[in-house]
Symmetry: C2
Subunit: 245 residues, 2 copies
Amino acid sequence: MTILKAPLAGGSPLLTRLSRLTRLDDMAVEALQTAARDVRRSPPRRELISEGEPIRERYALLAGWACRQRILSDGRRQILSFLLPGDLIGVCQHSNPLAATTIIAISELVTCPAPVADPGSALAEAYARSAALEERYMLAHITRLGRFDARERLADWLLETQQRLATTGLSVADQFPLPLTQEMLADALGLTSVHVNRTLQAMRRDGLLILRQGMAFLPDRDQLEKLVEYKPARVSAGGENYATP
Amino acid sequence: MTILKAPLAGGSPLLTRLSRLTRLDDMAVEALQTAARDVRRSPPRRELISEGEPIRERYALLAGWACRQRILSDGRRQILSFLLPGDLIGVCQHSNPLAATTIIAISELVTCPAPVADPGSALAEAYARSAALEERYMLAHITRLGRFDARERLADWLLETQQRLATTGLSVADQFPLPLTQEMLADALGLTSVHVNRTLQAMRRDGLLILRQGMAFLPDRDQLEKLVEYKPARVSAGGENYATP
DNA sequence: CGATCGTTTGACAAGGGTCAAAATGCGTGG
DNA sequence: CCACGCATTTTGACCCTTGTCAAACGATCG
């Protein structure tokens, strides 16, 4: 039966991810599948949303990486978060929203419109949980930047990212694509690219990380998790992972 | 007439704040006023919500300061945000929510239950905008921690906090209560208390800040704003400040 | 008046930043 | 297939911001 494997293998990563957050009904599934047929592409560096502008469209990211960032007048940049396949872009609960941050494509992207969710629908619940998860990631990022040293920041971020990708089947056996430059990592983790470079080297020496050809592999997950007391993000009581029995 | 001054002077800071985020209808105002009659108090250090626990009750903070925090096993603490009068606590869009962080009282608190908002109501819109604002503050905090040095962190945080307090009339003429120890500031800003102390002293020497008896005063707002390119948070297009004509 | 908490100070250490250059990788076009 | 140009990674030397440790000082409170 393909039904069991579909969400992870060929299906839309959006559907896969949302169905792990709450039980989706047929209406939601159909809306998501319909939406996923109307894809569009964006090249790297394209600005999807600009800070301060009204948000017109709500997308879902189907393939590729993007990031939310803020740039200071003297050139300093902070990457606030990365957007991975299955993530929502610009989905928001109130009227006339203004974009909180600029969002730009890192790799080539495939997006589709995010279906509108009626209040009270299963889809609305999924969106709300997705937003709650996003909040977790922001809180984790604050802790990383405020209280972790360079090695801890990298370890924690790698674990989180691996896990996010695993949710949509994009990471298998602690291996996953990492299409970032060390400078982007630095801008996300509040470091300089020189220091990221040195820290990554040290981690490779210590057998915590293997990088090659844009792929990352975590050979010693336990060690990494111990280093930062890693706990996967959970958003609601007694009900996640609805997709996989 | 007291009606005009009420929201700022004696009225509930929650009502004041929400009415600045969207136009509240009579139903919303009444719900908020009714809720504000059912107050309860919490002493300093009381844990209002514990990380990972199911969220039972939704409060609004009417008086006093609280904070969201995370503590690491080796004792390091990160304060994720401060909660000020008028802020919501535990208000959340999805079912069976788990608390993302611990919330503890800093000073003695006065809280009331937060009225439930029907989907589509003015109150729901206000809650959504309030949540969006909270997101702005988190994003600002990420940038502070990732890319600002100690003086910039303090300047930016002081400006933001002053402005949040001004929204509910708790800061007048760039003066406001600051019931924090330097250690709490350090835990929020990703520094040590020793360094916060030295940075504050330097800022006082430079005429950027005056502290006495738990009050802060910003004598040179322009200078501070220039230092960090400060921009007040806005959440929606063409519609804030509904309360003050 | 001691106890306790918070602030202030000093001496020193270290993690991480800066600057600059070299090495490596990679896509493109000849 | 090679050569070139560009982006990225790597390295080295040096410096500075911030952290650490410890003690003194100051307020507040039973």
